[in-house]
Symmetry: D2
Subunit: 321 residues, 4 copies
């Protein structure tokens, strides 16, 4: 059994990680760390886990585990790693954006299995991708792998409210967000860094821009991205390239129709559809932002790092409705 520790255990991604790990047959949860909730039952915060998990949050750190997941939020992971003497045999999976860019990766491998499968298998430290970054990369990377990106890529992606975490804010207030739509950080979202880095990894020298408009949706879970760019390659050939790129992927499915977002809610799947309109290729892509976009992908990475089948513990019942 893999002994697991979780840092930042009271937040949304930690909750989702726990929901997955309580059903994972190869892991034991050794501790769930939270300063603010130390001493409280874990299911007093993640209330839907009542009956599924016993034990309390702790503020004591212990490193006699096999892997720790850091769910503390952006900026906190690096300071946690640097201020603690984590033994080298403890693998680390970090869900923040602190180590995603190569310039500051400090040995962390970027944990997108569909891009870096072999490197993940042998990694000790994983920088787990961002949610938007996952949905968007999985839509673009097959084009980059073929060297087919020639012009700007246009991305519009809408996300559920859980992407913003549990801290109350004006834009997470129910009376405001219900039935509302708005955009934020147009063309400047922080995930663009990792998206561009992965594109360059596959198509070195691509000089175009990824023009990305993030949208706040009036739902809790899911990301739906529509992505298009100039492309003169035949539709058949493009679709074949996507199927080839994902032929060994366990959780990416290339459909022959455009998906709707709820097909993936509460699963680790990414559904992709590719269609040509004249010289434009349109790719739609959707994921559950907290699963394939965060904690599910983190478990997928853990499985790979420990030599398990990628799907162990990740065959989640989809919501359906």
């Amino acid at each position: 059994m893999i002994k697991v520790g979780i840092i930042g255990g009271a937040g949304y991604t930690a909750g989702e990680l726990l929901r997955i790990l309580v059903g994972h047959p190869e892991t034991d949860i050794a501790f769930v760390h939270s300063t603010s909730n130390a001493g409280n039952p874990i299911h007093s915060v993640h209330k839907d886990l009542v009956g599924d998990i016993e034990g309390d949050f702790t503020d004591q750190l212990q490193f006699d585990v096999d892997v720790i997941f850091i769910c503390s939020g952006h900026g906190h992971s690096r300071s946690f790693v640097e201020s603690n003497d984590i033994p080298s045999h403890v693998k680390i999976i970090d869900l923040s954006n602190d180590y995603r860019l190569k310039d500051h990766a400090d040995g962390f491998v970027y944990g997108l299995p569909e891009l870096n499968l072999e490197a993940i298998k042998t990694a000790n430290k994983i920088a787990n991708p961002g949610c938007f970054a996952t949905a968007i990369q999985l839509a673009i990377l097959p084009l980059a792998a073929k060297g087919w990106l020639t012009e700007d890529v246009h991305v519009n992606a809408i996300t559920g409210s859980t992407g913003a975490g549990q801290n109350p804010s004006a834009t997470s207030h129910f009376s405001w967000r219900n039935n509302n739509i708005s955009i934020y950080k147009a063309f400047s979202h922080q995930h663009l860094g990792e998206i561009n880095q992965s594109i360059q990894q596959l198509q070195d020298g691509y000089a175009g821009d990824v023009k990305f408009i993030p949208v706040r949706g009036n739902f809790t879970k899911g990301i739906f991205a529509s992505v298009y760019t100039h492309c003169t390659v035949d539709e058949k050939e493009v679709v074949a390239a996507y199927k080839e790129f994902y032929k060994d992927a366990k959780y990416v499915h290339v459909l022959d129709y455009a998906p709707d977002m709820k097909q993936v809610v509460n699963t680790n799947k990414c559904l992709i559809h590719v269609e040509k309109h004249g010289d434009t290729v349109l790719v739609t892509s959707c994921i559950d932002n907290l699963i394939k976009g965060a904690s599910g992908q983190a478990v997928q990475n853990m499985n790979l790092m420990f030599g398990l089948d990628q799907k162990v513990g990740l065959q989640l019942k989809s919501l359906g409705f």
Copy 2:
């Protein structure tokens, strides 16, 4: 023109009041008071009012107005009234629960037009009813008027999130409230006081209980109440009693089918339906919690106090969908 001042101008009920008053042909908004937002444009807080209202919030009080609406929240109205020297010619309409109960009314008339029409017309000070209290009383009062209440009254009423105001809380967080249902303050909601007081006003000595379970709904606006009690009177006769009771009411309609809540959203209406099941009478009742349940009823009261038709400025376009 009626010169209007608004106290507590940045909250939800003040916003809804402003949305109504900007279209009211007989009022001028003299000032909108807010300590926290003084100096900011009114439409910087109530953003949908852009293009409809100019002017800023002020922290200066002035009493050269005809009426002030106090929208400061429960507990604040009394201290406002007591600490300010409001000239006696200035009428007051208070939207809080500070003056609703006769024991502490200090001359405020309970402003439910369907109950206290004549008293409102000559009142100088109005205690505007609560939202749940309005929906529930309008369902019960015709029975009390006939002296037909004999046993406990059972009430289940579900409210939109705006009833909880704009302060962020765990139960107003979108990620929690979306698609969720919960109850609170079962059998002990603060509106029971005014409900029971009005029942006693019409049926002195009624000894039963109003057993009320408030429900948090996953929508922003509206209240839907189902109310039932023992009643041996014929259905026909009961329905006739309701129609008689509301024959002069401008905003209560007794339907021959059970309403759905959205029929009243963004209106000042209350829709009522009465049906018998054996010896049980079931009444359904719905209102917009911020309009007939707060700011619309406040304007209705203002109209009455100033000798206007009740409907002036209150023929609002319903949302429909």
Copy 3:
């Protein structure tokens, strides 16, 4: 492995059953019957199952299976059973209301595990309870078991739209139902028969009424019920009675706080809370209408019938948000 056949495979409860069974370690899906969709891939109807299930719907019946689930809808099960020569070694789990009442049970055992555990273990044919009936019985039965029901029981329960199935109707149209609340079948819902039958099973001679108002909620999944009645027993003693009644139940949890509905969405759990207010006992109860209220409970019954642990294949990742 248990060989499973599904009748009426294109509907909502069949879809939910498939979502569960694809992750169940002890079952093989032998066939999914649907006349209307024969020849189409199963994941062309239950689209979220893409990647999880291969195979097509069939209109051919075969009875070389161990169990069939009938998901055809009320009224269709009896005609299916009567017009087909189902071998006696094939167990039947019927999700309709055709066999729930003892007068017409024809050997079907009412499949509420918390009530009829031992009978289910040896049954060949199960009448799976209704969704409202499950949530409401689990709230009431511990009182009946003690003989503590003395007066009417008051029930208000709100359900998600999936309870109405996939046929389009005025009340399932998004533009109508979004942000809307309404009631239907007040005091006359078809589940009252099975609720009363189970109460009589535990407290023979109870002469009160279950007064039940069903509410249409603006969400897709879940039921939240609030239930109260007269009860002079001490709160402590009542709570203890509930805990005793459910001490061996695998999926009912008696909490020390009132649950919110989303705690159970996408799980087989029922969460219960009991509190006294004077001489009134209030019980809140919530389930996922399609899981504990239908297909999850059906699998729980199957597990019991085949000697498996009740929880096999039912430790579903809850939605959380």
Copy 4:
């Protein structure tokens, strides 16, 4: 008073038109035509109008009116006009797309007041713009007016479910659409014709493409569009151009921040924001799809045709929440 007749009176746009006209001080509703609902009270279909309107639908046509609104749906308007002998003094406002394109306009003026103000004032027949077309044109036209469009324009716009009308369909089923996102008719939506026509009217010879992805949102009312294109003009100068273009517009407001969609729900407003990012200009635009996107704009056109102030009857109370 303007005597009004409505054709196709039972649909969504007719309902919204009635909600506006019952509060319009200068109109009398002479008849509401509906074949399917002839003889039924108007408020039996548009149920929120109970108390606001008396009278029944009729299947009798009468042309002793000043104006008729045709709300019959695309394809039906032309056949209605051609098969009825409408007297020439009766003005026509058609809400379908049958007469929007100049090639088949047959004398109908394209009724976008911000584009064709003077022509509308003297028109006898108006082709009322489409909902998406309104939101998108109001975002683009100021650039075209300056001749600043040089490359493709990228548009993503999300719409509420009422845009699809009241006929039940798979994508209007609550259980499917709630919390869901999907796209349709990518790059080929039927409103592109009128959008391109208006661009050419202002910037003859523009050779770029409007690349438009329509999105189905999980809300009932509203459209939110994000629109961007290459533009090397200074942000200040661009914003000034928008303010100049809309300086006389009654219902378009150029904001200095990006709007959220609910700011305009239940109003006739269009809110616009313009910002530069490098050499890209981003315009956000939002409307209520049934008001400024349909029936409100139709009334605005009627006001212009009859010499009234544009705002008569259109100062609607916004929803707010």
